[in-house]
């Protein structure tokens, strides 16, 4: 487990360094993910240890968002009056964009399958 954690934190650090050197708006962990992906492609796959630790961490991905989500119930007073608009944007906006992107993906994949 320790080796896998070292690998993950090492790539995160590399990603964060790269991003700050390049002044890129991409967050460090995302750059770290891309670097690890490249490393895996060169090496030919993850070790069993890295595979297991990653699987465990990803399983709890939504837990790591939880403290941030609780913040929505503690908004500053200046924002609270816009509650209905915020809720509508989240509910209706997400439904509309899911339908739109789902439709798009389905059509484009069907075209691709038809062309082959």
């Amino acid at each position: 487990m320790l080796k896998a954690l070292i690998a993950l934190l090492f790539f995160q650090l590399c990603g964060e360094t790269l991003v700050s050197v390049l002044h890129s708006p991409i967050p460090g962990p995302v750059a770290g993910m891309l670097l690890l992906w490249i490393a895996l492609a060169i090496k030919g796959g993850p070790s069993k240890d890295l595979d297991q630790v990653s699987h465990t961490l990803i399983q709890y991905l939504s837990l790591f968002f939880l403290p941030a989500g609780v913040g929505l119930f503690f908004l500053p007073a200046s924002v609270q009056q816009y509650w209905p608009a915020i809720l509508a944007a989240m509910l209706v906006g997400t439904l509309a964009s899911m339908l739109f992107s789902g439709f798009l993906m389905k059509r484009l994949s069907a075209k691709k399958a038809g062309a082959e």
Partner: protein, 258 residues
């Protein structure tokens, strides 16, 4: 005589309360709930309970553990008088783990890459147009309902994963606390709506389901996609990563145009 007895009892109670030995006494309770560890333990215990409930309900999207536990935690914090900033400080460990977990997403991405390569063009096009639509629809609806500028700017990165969204929101002048909450709840709502969307569009392909979850509901959608199927999870990871990168690179340049 009875008077003396009552007096001694009262004195004794006061002494015990001062010493903080009784669990019911305010001293122990106050020092317990204001320990940083309490906030973290609260998150973990409530989430574990919510997970059991989720599994017990057959993993139905509408009892998503993040939705159930965030409401429960918010209610408990309000009841016990713990401030949100104190609670968040105690949960730094979970926030920290978001980083290495994002890096860990490289593994499923690598393993499922052969599926992804075949669909490269539809994926890239859907991410660009779908990502732009997600931001535009949220901002458009809130604008129509009369939100002020700061709220609009905070809503723009709502479908992007939290670390990216916070960076973007700060970059364009939004409110980081609002963005974070909105992002997480967009993820939860995306997961809640996903069965309806898949039914309406007759979307049964796990690759397409994963794309929609990752693109619109970022990390929370990705976690849900991994529960459905590993291929679905890899597609969700890819969509989340591409949408994050695309939004982070374009939004700071689009906003000044308005």
């Amino acid at each position: 005589m009875p008077d003396l007895l009552t007096q001694t009892t009262l004195k004794g109670q006061a002494l015990i309360e001062q010493s903080g030995l009784l669990p019911g006494s305010p001293n122990v309770w106050q020092s317990l709930i204001h320990k940083p560890l309490f906030g973290l333990l609260l998150t973990l215990v409530i989430f574990q309970l919510a997970l059991w409930f989720y599994n017990w309900c057959g993993r139905k999207a509408f009892v998503h553990p993040v939705a159930v536990s965030s409401v429960a935690i918010a209610a408990l914090l309000k009841l016990s008088g713990i401030s949100y900033s104190e609670y968040v400080d105690g949960n730094g460990l979970l926030y920290f783990l978001l980083g290495p977990t994002t890096v860990a997403l490289a593994i499923p991405l690598y393993k499922e890459f052969h599926h992804i390569r075949k669909l490269a063009l539809p994926i890239v096009l859907t991410v660009i147009f779908g990502g732009a639509f997600a931001a535009a629809s949220a901002v458009g609806i809130a604008w129509f309902m009369g939100s002020d500028e700061q709220v609009l700017l905070s809503l723009a990165p709502k479908s992007v994963t939290t670390p990216i969204a916070i960076g973007v929101a700060e970059n364009i002048g939004g409110l980081a606390t609002l963005t974070t909450g909105v992002v997480v709840f967009t993820g939860v709502i995306g997961v809640l709506l996903s069965p309806l969307v898949f039914y309406l569009l007759q979307l049964r392909d796990p690759r397409q389901q994963g794309m929609i979850l990752g693109l619109n509901a970022h990390g929370i959608g990705t976690a849900r996609a991994f529960e459905l199927n590993p291929t679905s999870g890899a597609f969700a990871t890819l969509a989340m990563g591409l949408n994050g990168a695309f939004t982070a690179l374009t939004l700071p340049y689009i906003i000044p145009l308005f």
